[in-house]
């Protein structure tokens, strides 16, 4: 989807965390991307590289941690990783499941070479 605007927002957020007067290189910005968030990671990396050159984050790498879709069963309490988009508990086959992870779209870490 709109990876360019998402990359731009990631850069805006990460920029706010660079310590005042920082002279060191920013090595990386880490993000969590849930598999249900409709983000194409290759495209996000491309957009990040295209945008980051003009910012204080110049030269930094975008590290993407892909988060699987997991659900908790409301009947038996077990957690299932959903790989085939069928939202069902693999232990008791109940479809009463709650999404635990998979919607993430989060900036989580900044790595500085100081």
């Amino acid at each position: 989807m709109h990876e360019l605007s998402v990359a731009n927002e990631i850069i805006n957020i990460a920029n706010q965390y660079i310590p005042a007067g920082n002279k060191s290189d920013i090595l990386s910005v880490k993000v969590e991307i849930g598999k249900l968030s409709n983000i194409l990671t290759d495209s996000l990396e491309f957009c990040y590289e295209a945008l980051v050159g003009d910012t204080k984050l110049k030269g930094s790498k975008l590290i993407i941690e892909e988060i699987p879709v997991t659900v908790a069963c409301e009947d038996c309490g077990e957690t299932t990783i959903i790989e085939n988009v069928i939202f069902q508990c693999k232990y008791c086959e109940s479809t009463k499941v709650k999404l635990v992870t998979g919607n993430e779209l989060k900036v989580t870490e900044l790595e500085i070479n100081d």
């Binding site: 998402v6 939202f87 009463k96 989580t108 870490e109 900044l110 790595e111």
Partner: protein
Amino acid sequence: MSRLTIERKVLEKNDAIADDLRKSFKGNKIFSINLVSSPGSGKTSLVEKTIANSSAKIKIAVIEGDVQTDLDAQRVEAFDIPVVQIVTNGGCHLEAGLVRDAYKQIDCKAVELLIIENVGNLVCPAGYDLGEDLKVVIVSTTEGDDKPLKYPAMFRNSGVLIINKIDLVPYTGCSLERLKANALAINPSLKVFETSCTTGEGINKWCDWLESKIIK
């Protein structure tokens, strides 16, 4: 070398505006739906049918989202109800900020049901909260019964599924049963309606249900 923990949502600005909108909708007793589908599934036709059927009973306002033109707003204007057109100029989805600006132009005291018609797209609108009570996803039978499996986030995030163009089933390879089964496998709590905006079939049922949601 040092690592700074951040923990910030990328779409936090959108989410904050959506929360404000949600509060305002609630405060003004407005039930709001975010209508999403691929282009050409019949969103605007459903809006027209809904207005024709229900506007004598409930006060409806519409926010139209399109990449270009105000053609949809013109169609809705014919019914003499409040309508605001958002043109995204290429943007593939509505964001909460755009809806907030449009909402300001509506006399919210005179509205019981707000219909937000999103840009036709089964991908991007799934990720953007507009402060709505409910996402309503439309799939038309001409799109095929596999759509839920191909766009799971949209079906997972919606509360209602409307299967439109059921009058065309004989001319397509679409199986209504398979379409429903695919959608319910992704989201068993989906409330399903079957409609044809051409013959009017199923519109009453959908409108009755929608009217029952109006906040008294």
